[in-house]
């Protein structure tokens, strides 16, 4: 079951069981919320970003239901943002683009742990084309929410 274990790495199962950023923060300060659905499997996420006066992303919180990949991905995204004390928008955009590119690469482009933190464990998903959408869900919501701030 090496295929399965390359997909469901320990870290992914951990995040899906003990998700970070779960529970939407109050709508205070400059914030925006995005709701996204995956119509095929019914997974949904509501994700909220809060940005500082400098425009940097202060935090990501979310609520949602879905498979372990989609839950872990949201949790890892929240953790990644939490690591920095304010993530510049340009950096956020670059992360989203890089994540999307890697996931669509069918295993060609691994995610760099230095850049993506725990989310780098999602590299294996790119070989499972039917699951790419699961991993992307939170990131699409993140992109959409950012565009609304």
């Amino acid at each position: 079951m090496s295929g399965l274990e390359s997909l469901y790495q320990e870290l992914i199962l951990d995040h899906s069981k003990r998700p970070q950023g779960r529970g939407l923060a109050d709508e205070e300060g400059r914030n925006a919320t995005s709701h996204q659905r995956n119509p095929i499997c019914g997974d949904e996420i509501t994700l909220r970003v809060r940005v500082g006066d400098d425009g940097a992303v202060r935090d990501v919180t979310w609520e949602g239901a879905g498979c372990s990949i989609s839950q872990a991905s949201a949790s890892m995204l929240a953790a990644l943002v939490a690591e920095e004390d304010g993530m510049p928008r340009a950096e956020a955009s670059a992360l989203i683009d890089g994540f999307r590119e890697a996931l669509r690469s069918r295993g060609e482009l691994p995610l760099d742990e230095e850049v993506f933190g725990d989310a780098a464990a999602l590299s294996g998903v790119s070989k499972f084309t039917a699951r790419v959408k699961c991993a992307m869900l939170a990131w699409v919501a993140f992109e959409d929410a950012l565009a609304r701030t």
Binding site: M1, G3, L4, L7, Y8, L13, K17, I40, C41, G42, D43, E44, A65, G66, C67, S68, I69, F128, R131, C134
Partner: protein, 427 residues
């Protein structure tokens, strides 16, 4: 002395399906997704290829030898498939599938409501306040076309609820179906619950108020002996690809007097008598409903598919699948944390079970099984309202066909029993 139930020669059957010999992720494929689409026997593939390489030509349109040959093969296919569901050839309209068939009916009724095809079609015309009754168990294909028809005509859509055990609430149906009811549409077998619905009861209720009945026979045609005229429904649909046949072909059965009165849906070539720049006169059924070039090779493929099913014997197919269903149901009930959808006892079933695994998302279950070569379907199976009714957004569905073995079921059950531990969802 009763004759023994006919049995299938499973080894021979499996050998007829090239894809069943594939390996997936290092394991022999266990295909339990026939509810979505079935695999095709070599005979079906060969029939299409033979047509395309030896007789291919436009049908109903040419006088040359090839065209005449193609037309004969095409019309013979109609007779074969019609016969398989107990109907006359002229009662069978080719469609591109069940979805297309249900849309055909809904749009034709919409056209009748707009005055097209009158006076014959006037009996189908809907007025604001008229009611269309469906069930809570519908596949979206037998739900949204009626929602749209209701929105266009002002008719009201109502639904027969499903009980906790997955059976239709026929008591509620008896109250719901009344003077305002014009159409009653329902599945022969739900693609999530697998229970054979009481067609006779619903038809009787509908006939009592003069409502038109529309049967979604997608999940029964591949699995049960089917005699549509004796079921008494006015219209019924099925899809070729779910019954060993090609994609892009299906059938709409209609009682003759219903088809004759229904205005056309798709319009274009081969369904007309006289056309001027301003108007057209239409052929009788089934041609009236078959605009444009038809799925010719696919019709011939579907005829090969039903001949295959007939040769196996639908009674034997049903008995075999029933045994698989029972084995699967028992096994599933024995695995901790599994909740079956529609676990009614004392009902007739086809060989499918949908279920929820406590603490593990359906998608993850599917992925886990796939790693063992077991192909099942996960998601809402195009039945969101039904899933919502059971408090779910998604479930796992294992569905069998005549080519599945008891070993397939056991492999599936064995794999499944490890899933909660893997995802740390408790034993």
């Amino acid at each position: 002395m009763t004759s023994p139930a006919p049995v299938l020669d499973l080894a021979a059957i499996r050998a007829d399906f090239p894809l069943l010999g594939e390996r997936v992720n290092g394991h022999p494929l266990v295909y339990l997704d026939s509810g979505a689409t079935s695999q095709k026997p070599q005979a079906v593939i060969d029939a299409e290829v033979a047509f395309l390489t030896r007789s291919n030509s436009a049908v109903h349109r040419g006088a040359h030898t090839l065209a005449a040959e193609a037309t004969e093969l095409f019309e013979d296919a109609r007779a074969t498939v019609a016969g398989f569901v107990g109907a006359q050839p002229e009662q069978l309209v080719w469609t591109s599938g069940a979805t297309a068939g249900l849309n055909l009916v809904a749009y034709a009724i919409g056209n009748a409501s707009a005055g097209r095809g009158a006076p014959a079609s006037a009996r189908f015309a809907l007025a604001p306040g008229d009611e269309i009754v469906v069930t809570e168990t519908e596949h979206h294909a037998n739900l949204i076309p009626w929602q749209e028809l209701a929105a266009r005509t002002g008719a009201v859509l109502r639904h027969i609820p499903v009980r906790d055990d997955g059976t239709l609430d026929t008591d509620a149906a008896a109250t719901l179906i009344g003077d305002r009811t014009r159409i009653v549409a329902f599945p022969h077998v739900s693609n999530v619950l697998g229970i054979v619905n009481p067609v006779g009861d619903l038809v009787a209720l509908a006939q009592g108020v003069g409502a038109l009945t529309v049967l979604d026979a997608c999940q029964s045609a591949p699995h049960l002996p089917l005699d549509l005229p004796s079921l008494g429904v006015d219209l019924a649909v099925f899809s070729g690809h779910k019954m060993l046949g090609p994609y892009a072909i299906g059938g709409l059965y209609g009682r003759s007097e219903v088809l004759e009165a229904l205005p056309p849906f798709l319009t274009g070539g081969s369904m007309i008598t006289t056309v001027t720049l301003d108007e057209a006169q239409y052929l009788p059924p089934p041609q009236r409903f078959e605009a444009g070039t038809q799925p010719v090779s696919q019709a011939i493929g579907l005829a090969a598919a039903v001949r295959y099913l007939d040769a196996a014997g639908m009674a034997a197919v049903h008995a075999h699948e029933k045994a698989l269903e029972a084995r699967m149901g028992e096994g599933l009930r024995a695995i901790p944390g599994i909740r079956l959808l529609g676990d009614a006892t004392e009902v007739e079933r086809v060989g499918l079970w949908a279920f929820d695994v406590a603490g593990v998302h359906a998608h993850d279950v599917g992925q886990f099984l796939d790693a063992r070569g077991v192909a099942v379907r996960v998601g809402h199976h195009c039945a969101q309202p039904l899933h919502r009714r059971f408090g779910l957004t998604a479930s796992v569905r294992a569905s069998a066909a005549l080519y599945n073995t008891p070993e397939d079921v056991d492999t599936f059950l064995d794999a499944l029993s490890g899933v909660r531990a893997f995802f740390g969802a408790g034993s």
